[in-house]
């Protein structure tokens, strides 16, 4: 485990071992809150913060915690950070806090977080665990935002509505709209839309991976035609 490079960590978190697209972890909040891009971004950032902080803490205490009780300890650590994030959002992003509702405290149960604590942070040093948490969190956030944007655009013809809830009044200009005449497909915003859109995203990722693999194979063949023959 210790020979893993930072480059690999980042690539794993963002693409190869993406928490949402490959490990399929944390799907409950993923499917539930991604009806707009901003909701997805909000939850993604909250999850990333918790992930980084819990990875750091778990990595620091990894030699003190006895193996038998490690899971309850990890859960306690994660729950503390989630509570902190929840209170902070309640204080500074109240509107967003109201929209995301139950899904902020539910970050505790996001398997992606305890998964990283157990599989990575409890076995690696501080810096690597931090990088891993950050990469995983950003990878998760990107999926949330992409899914949210897709559903929001198909469903309502807008992008980044309510951006001001997150970035203040100045961000109102970020909102993109197709105009009032756009007739969106309501289904995209409803729960089935989340499942269909996620399915399509998974298919797209697998398709890209397959194509890259084939190209690599082709390239390898062209480099060593004799060996292949």
């Amino acid at each position: 485990m210790s020979d893993i490079t930072y480059r690999q960590l980042i690539r794993d978190g963002l693409w190869n071992n993406n928490a949402a697209l490959v490990a399929l972890l944390g799907l409950c909040p993923l499917l539930a809150v991604t009806n707009t891009a901003i909701n997805g971004l909000g939850l993604g950032i909250a999850t990333t913060v918790v992930l980084v902080l819990s990875n750091i803490t778990v990595s620091l205490i990894r030699n003190i915690v006895r193996n038998e009780i490690r899971l309850p300890v990890f859960v306690l650590v994660i729950a503390s950070f989630v509570t902190a994030v929840e209170l902070s959002m309640n204080a500074w992003f109240f509107e967003l806090y109201k929209i995301l509702g139950i899904f902020i405290p539910l970050i505790v149960t996001n398997c992606a977080i305890i998964g990283r604590a157990e599989a990575f942070a409890s076995k690696n040093n501080l810096v690597k665990s931090t990088v891993d948490g950050l990469a995983m969190g950003i990878g998760f956030t990107l999926v949330l935002v992409a899914l949210g944007a897709m559903r929001e655009f198909i469903g309502m013809g807008t992008l980044f509505t309510q951006a001001h809830l997150m970035f203040g009044e100045a961000a109102r200009g970020l909102t993109f709209s197709m105009g009032d005449n756009f007739q969106g497909a309501l289904l995209a915003i409803l729960p089935p839309g989340a499942f269909i859109a996620l399915g399509l995203m998974l298919a797209m990722k697998n398709w890209i991976d397959q194509r890259n693999e084939e190209r690599a194979k082709q390239a390898a063949l062209e480099e060593e035609p004799e060996a292949a023959a």
Partner: protein, 347 residues
Amino acid sequence: MQFPTITSPHTDRPNSVQKAMLWVVLALIPGALAMIWFFGWGILINMVLAIATAIACEALVMKLRDRQVKPVIMDLSAILTAMLFAIAVPPLLPWWLTVIGVAFAILLVKQMYGGLGYNVFNPAMAAYVLLLISYPVQMTSWLPPVMLNENPLTFAQTLGVIFGGALPNGLTWDAVTMATPLDTMRTGLSLNQTVTEISSSPVLGEFGGKGWEIVAGLYLLGGLFMLYKKAITWHIPVSTLAGLAVMAFLFNIIDGDAYPLTSFHIFSGATMLGAFFIATDPVSAPGTRKGQLYYGASIGVLIYIIRTWGGYPDAIAFSVLLMNMAAPTIEFFTRPRTFGHRGAGHD
């Protein structure tokens, strides 16, 4: 229930997907023609548009998969899906909704699962539900049948509405559209009117709705034709109608003022179309005979439940999709016993 064991020879005449589909398409035509007569050119325009879209989508997928295009289109399954969809949607549906619906049916519901024979859900009904949930206003704007229609649209005007979205001068949507018999019944009941009071509404006919009951009768005839040609077996349609009829009969006996007659349920909405043409889709229904009885009866009961207490006027699509999900389980528990083994599911 016991069914006779059929001994060999099992193949008494050559049969093919194409032939079975052809019988279904032919059986659908009388009812479809009646719908064009009662509800105007829109049905025909939708059908042509839907079939063209379906063929284009199938061709696209076959090209992407490096398969031959022609045999897949010639098996008629996509065309049947398109026809069922076009019959199910309102006559003046904007063209882009028809295109979205059929493309969804063929690309996502059928081909993404692997094409004909692999789809879990009935493509036409999945597309119908997609549109009904996403665009409830357009999807519930039905025209009145021809004898009640004060503002019948010409062919050119219908084209203009479907492709341009603009009604001819002096007409509003309220003047063109009218509540369907099922809508009328539902609205009346919610206003605490009795079934008898509602039945005096001009929309309602002898059994179901004016015009609708004739269309339903023709679908029944088409269904009998398919039974005769052995394109379908009796199990699913009979159990579907029976499930619905038993529910309707029971509740009608309990309170005849609040629950309409059995005949109303059987002859209005898409009951006949659903029982004979949609629920019998061989791909998404269970394969065992016994399972088909459970499947059909559950669809019938669900139709009644959703029509009576649900949020949407008609319920064929929802019932069929719900039971599509249950079909593999039904199949598992109704496997015929193999000789020498104890019973289904215990081998």
